[in-house]
C-alpha cells in the first residue's frame, strides 16, 4: 500500500509524525518548528497523497509536539495531521484545529503597533479560519497569516 511507504522510510519508535502537509510546505513547517530535538529529524517530500495530491512528512524522534507548536502548524498547514508514536505504534492521532486566539508567537505586521514598539506580548483573535485571518487585539488590524509573521524556534 502506498500509504505505508512513507512510514517505512524512517520508522521511529518514539516521537511525532506530522503527516499530510501539502507539498511544498514541509520545509516551511520544519523551519517554523525548528530543528532542536534530541533525536533524529527526518523529512520526506513529495509523497503521493489522495487528500492533497502531493504531501510532505516530518518525523521528530523523541519529541512530543506541544500545543503551541500544533497551533503554529495550523496557521500554515491546517490540513496536516499529527500522530504521536510510542513503542513503535500510533498512540494518539491529533487533527489540527485553528485556535480561536493566538498568544505570543505571531508578530503584528503593523510597524506602528504597540507590540512592535514596547515589550508587549502579542495577542490575536482568529477572525477567519479557512484562509487564516487574525485581528491584533492592540491595533485591531486584520492580517492574513503569512509565514514571516510566525516566530521561529530552535535557532540556537
Amino acid at each position: 500500500m502506498s500509504g505505508d511507504r512513507s512510514y517505512r522510510v524512517f520508522k521511529i519508535e518514539e516521537g511525532t509524525v506530522i503527516d499530510h502537509i501539502p507539498s511544498p510546505l514541509g520545509l516551511l513547517v520544519l523551519d517554523i518548528l525548528g530543528q532542536v530535538s534530541e533525536g533524529i529529524i527526518s523529512i520526506g517530500l513529495n509523497f503521493d497523497s489522495r487528500r492533497t495530491g502531493k504531501k510532505d512528512l516530518i518525523k521528530y524522534e523523541h519529541k512530543v509536539i506541544k500545543k503551541e507548536e500544533t497551533d503554529k502548524i495550523a496557521l500554515v498547514a491546517p490540513q496536516a495531521t499529527i500522530n504521536i508514536i510510542k513503542g513503535g505504534t500510533v498512540v494518539e492521532k491529533r487533527s489540527i484545529d485553528v485556535p480561536d486566539t493566538i498568544e505570543g508567537f505571531l508578530t503584528c505586521m503593523n510597524p506602528n503597533c504597540i507590540t512592535n514598539l514596547e515589550k508587549v506580548k502579542t495577542s490575536f483573535d482568529v477572525v477567519e479560519k479557512e484562509k487564516v485571518k487574525v485581528k491584533c487585539r492592540y491595533c485591531e488590524r486584520v492580517w492574513e497569516v503569512k509565514p514571516n509573521m510566525i516566530e521561529k524556534d530552535g535557532r540556537s
Partner: protein, 307 residues
C-alpha cells in the same frame, strides 16, 4: 440595570454593544439636561496627550472642570518623560497613582489598550494613531439621536475620504447596531474599503455608493463630511479634478433636504464653506459642543458617580 461601567476603560468601539451605547447616550442626555451636577467633584483626571490634539484635550478639560473635577497632564510628548526614553507602560504605572482616571492620546496604535492593562484606574482612549477614537463616535451618535430622536430608520450619508478616515469607519461600526441605510459618497480612489462593506452585508445593512453628491441627497437625514487630502491621491491632477465635487457651499447644499443635517468631526479646512455655517442644517459646532456632556457622562459612569 444590567449595565455597570464602574472601573471600566473605554478603548475601542469593538468593546461595546448596542445596549451599552444606548445607556451611555441616555446618561449623556441627562447630563446635558443638567442632571448629575458636580458629578466629578473630588475627582482628579489626568490628560496624557503624548500626541497633541488641542480640540480633543480642551473638550475633555472643559468637561472635567465644569463638573467640579481637577485636571492635570501634558499636551505633547515633548513635555513628558517619554522624551527621556521612559516606556508608556512605566508612565501609566506611575500616573495611575496620582488620579482617578486617565484620558490619553498616543500616536502608537494599541497604546490605550496596553495602558488599560497596567493602570489601576479607567483609561479613556482619546485616539490611538489611526485606530480608535471612541468618544468622537459617541458624540456623533449622541448628536444624531438628539436631532432626530432615534437612529433607526434613518438614512445617513458619509462623504469624503472613506478609505483612510478613522472617524467614518468607527461611525459605520456604531451605526451598524441600528436599522439604518447608508450612502457612501467619495471619489473612486477613496472608496469605503471592502472589508467594511462586507461587514455591512453580514449585518444586513443596506448601503449605496455614489460618485458625487446629487439630488439623491435630498433623502438623507444626515450628511457626515470629512476632508479629502491631496496626499491621498496618486495623481495630483485627479485630486484637482474631483475635489470640488465634495465641497459643501451655498450652491451644493441646495441638493440636500430641508431636514438633512450637516455634520463634520472638525477641524475643517475648505470642505465646508463658512458661508453655510448660519444654515439651520449645519450642526457641526453643536456636534463638537456635545462632546462635553458625552465625555462627562462617560467619566461619571467609569468613576461610578453616575449610575
Amino acid at each position: 440595570m444590567g449595565i455597570d461601567f464602574k472601573g471600566r476603560s473605554f478603548i475601542s468601539l469593538s468593546d461595546m454593544n448596542k445596549e451599552e451605547i444606548l445607556y451611555l447616550m441616555e446618561k449623556s442626555g441627562e447630563v446635558k439636561a443638567g442632571k448629575h451636577k458636580g458629578l466629578l467633584s473630588g475627582k482628579t483626571v489626568a490628560t496624557l496627550f503624548f500626541e497633541p490634539s488641542t480640540r480633543t484635550r480642551l473638550s475633555f478639560e472643559s468637561a472635567v472642570l465644569q463638573q467640579g473635577g481637577q485636571i492635570f497632564g501634558f499636551s505633547s510628548s515633548a513635555s513628558s518623560s517619554t522624551q527621556k526614553g521612559e516606556s508608556l507602560t512605566d508612565t501609566i504605572k506611575t500616573v495611575t497613582g496620582y488620579c482617578d482616571a486617565i484620558v490619553m492620546r498616543h500616536k502608537i496604535e494599541g497604546a490605550a489598550r496596553r495602558a488599560s492593562q497596567v493602570a489601576d484606574v479607567p483609561i479613556i482612549n482619546a485616539g490611538d494613531g489611526a485606530n480608535q477614537h471612541p468618544t468622537q463616535t459617541f458624540l456623533d451618535i449622541f448628536t444624531m439621536m438628539e436631532k432626530k430622536g432615534s437612529i433607526d430608520g434613518k438614512t445617513i450619508g458619509l462623504m469624503g475620504d472613506l478609505k483612510y478616515g478613522r472617524t467614518t469607519h468607527s461611525l459605520l461600526v456604531a451605526l451598524s447596531f441600528f436599522d439604518v441605510r447608508l450612502a457612501f459618497i467619495s471619489p473612486q480612489e477613496l472608496k469605503m474599503p471592502e472589508h467594511y462593506t462586507d461587514f455591512l452585508k453580514t449585518k444586513g445593512i443596506e448601503f449605496m455608493e455614489w460618485d458625487v453628491l446629487d439630488e439623491k441627497a435630498g433623502d438623507l437625514d444626515f450628511l457626515y463630511c470629512t476632508r479629502i487630502q491631496k496626499e491621498r491621491f496618486f495623481d495630483p491632477m485627479e485630486y484637482e479634478r474631483v475635489k470640488g465635487s465634495y465641497i459643501l457651499d451655498k450652491e451644493s447644499i441646495q441638493l440636500l433636504g430641508d431636514s438633512t443635517y450637516i455634520m463634520h468631526p472638525l477641524p475643517r479646512v475648505d470642505e465646508i464653506a463658512e458661508e453655510i455655517d448660519e444654515d439651520e442644517r449645519a450642526i457641526y459646532f453643536e456636534q463638537a459642543h456635545n462632546g462635553v456632556p458625552v465625555r462627562q457622562a462617560l467619566l461619571g459612569l467609569a468613576l461610578g458617580t453616575i449610575r
